[in-house]
Symmetry: C2
Subunit: 340 residues, 2 copies
């Protein structure tokens, strides 16, 4: 199955010109007479000529496409972020190549190598929950390859970063629970190596620091796969339920954790919020239809995607090496509903 497109050569032969003249005419060079320009342009549109992007890429050493690595497309936060990424990228004539890690470190390394070998011009990445070793990213970064982190950032690598105020989001959510009169507030977060987990737990801690009840270590649970696997959430919840005094509220620190925690509580016949209140990070657009409607910390995912992409394109198109890097911090939004 082949599919032939018109080339500059076809035009040249058809009009009895050289390819370079045609090329120049199409690029509206001043060294071509208006008459020939018109001739070429007319014929080109007539046969629906489009310059071959691959040949262009080879010539210009840039592919005009960027890579995106996220944990899961089928996650409201990421799909909304990708929406933002795509809107900016397409607007600037860039293509988007998406890869998923499913929270696996190995997949992240493989997918990164794959994308890098496919000659993308830059990378947007929200690292997987399994990422502890950063060699693969550092190697790329040191070769001057443009990278922008969003959401789950990596502090050790100096480049643009876009995230929300995770500390504040977690602080607000926890404070909300405190104000509602909950005394024993537990937290389930992603793995400790993720920046967002640490920051959100810090916010949770800070909010509790003002109360008389200091949070015991037993109230803080980490989840290896950021809640992707129901089983690990079940285990964390079970452990929390065995504590005395039993927690009367849970704060979940990521999208999948929140919905899966709700699933587990329901399956155990625990009523929300009568038995245990639930507040969590989530970008699902179904939260108000849930039973009960969930109080959530919402992130401006679309906007994050847009900003991250703008920064990346800026990095790619910069002539001189960029030394000053931005660290954009957006605000979260606490949506209070019946679950707390």
């Amino acid at each position: 199955m082949k599919f032939e497109a018109a080339t500059i050569k076809d035009i040249a032969i058809a009009l009895g010109l050289s390819t370079s003249t045609v090329s120049r005419a199409l690029r509206d060079s001043h060294e071509i007479s208006i008459a020939t320009k018109q001739l070429v342009l007319e014929y080109a549109t007539r046969i629906n000529y489009h310059p071959n992007p691959i040949a262009l890429s080879l010539k210009e050493k840039r592919s005009r496409s960027i890579g995106v690595i996220v944990a899961e497309i089928a996650n409201s936060f990421f799909s909304q972020a990708i929406n933002g990424i795509e809107s900016v990228a397409k607007d600037k004539g860039y293509n988007v190549m998406i890869s998923q890690t499913h929270e696996s470190f190995d997949k992240e390394v493989m997918t990164l190598q794959y994308l890098a070998s496919r000659s993308i011009d830059g990378l947007l990445i929200s690292v997987s929950s399994g990422t502890e070793n950063l060699d693969h990213l550092k190697a790329l970064h040191e070769r001057g390859f443009p990278i922008v982190f969003f959401d789950r950032i990596v502090e050790e690598i100096q480049t643009h970063k876009v995230m929300v105020d995770n500390f504040r989001g977690a602080y607000d959510a926890t404070l909300h629970l405190i104000n509602k009169g909950y005394k024993h507030i537990a937290v389930i977060a992603g793995p400790e190596n993720l920046s967002i987990s640490r920051e959100r737990i810090a916010g949770y801690r800070e909010a509790l620091a003002h109360t008389r009840v200091k949070p015991g270590k037993a109230l803080i649970k980490y989840s290896r796969y950021a809640g992707l696997q129901l089983q690990e959430v079940e285990q964390a919840v079970s452990q929390l339920l065995k504590l005395r005094p039993r927690p009367d509220a849970i704060f979940t620190a990521s999208d999948k954790l929140t919905t899966n925690c709700m699933r587990v509580l329901k399956s155990k016949g625990i009523r929300i919020p009568q038995d245990i209140a639930l507040v969590g990070f989530s970008n699902s657009d179904l939260i108000e239809l849930l039973h009960p409607p969930l109080t959530v910390v919402r992130q401006p995912a679309f906007e994050m995607g847009q900003i991250a992409t703008q920064l990346l394109l800026q990095l790619i198109e910069s002539k001189k090496p960029v030394k000053e890097f931005e660290r954009k911090i957006l605000n979260t939004n606490l949506i209070i509903q019946a679950s707390s």
Copy 2:
């Protein structure tokens, strides 16, 4: 910001060979002595040589990437399908480029032109709800460009198609409502020009044909943007509520329609299923957490993505023009919960 990779030329110069020798050595040609092969291979791995995929694409006239066009990534069905697409594509060394139409015909045409001009090797598409004119697809198809339709297919174009048994899915759902004793069952579907809308309404009609109550035209509502816009769903529901006798059940024929219909009913203070029962197509993984848990028709989205991709790659890699086309029809799954 540039980023230089090693080329075959670098190796040739370093070893005092010609580029063609190096090229042949790397491809393990029999006409190269074992000694030089070893020499080249060793040096290549040492400097971490990877062939430039763009140069390869130019040479071989294939980019090893496929395009995907869907309405919305942030839609459970599509994100699951993309998951399936990505798994097969990556496995076969193909890249995936995703574009969204947001149910707009203009965006579909633009995005199609864009992808086609980016020299993708083939296209997977689930047409937008606004698609009435097929010229853009026909033009591409007639030039022999590989296309596979999934989910929202187009009958007029002869190529591989992957879908579910929409008729049966709708029939089962409607029959379920009938068996539960509902008498006045309304339906809200996507626009009439979409194959899935027509088939699902036909299934609904067939189920009702066995009952005494024939469905009046007033019970059948179409939604221009397949439920993407809340407003149009609100309008459809309002009209249904004015009918006498008032419908006691609604069947919604697509993902967004289902959740948005639920949203509208809730906002109007209508209880599900006491006042009106609700059953719909949906692939959301939160349905059992909703209030009430929704009875849904679920599609094997991941599998659809996989199969469609396999067929597309088969089409792309076929030497001779394919004349026999497959029409894969998968089964839906009715998940019965409290909403009906």
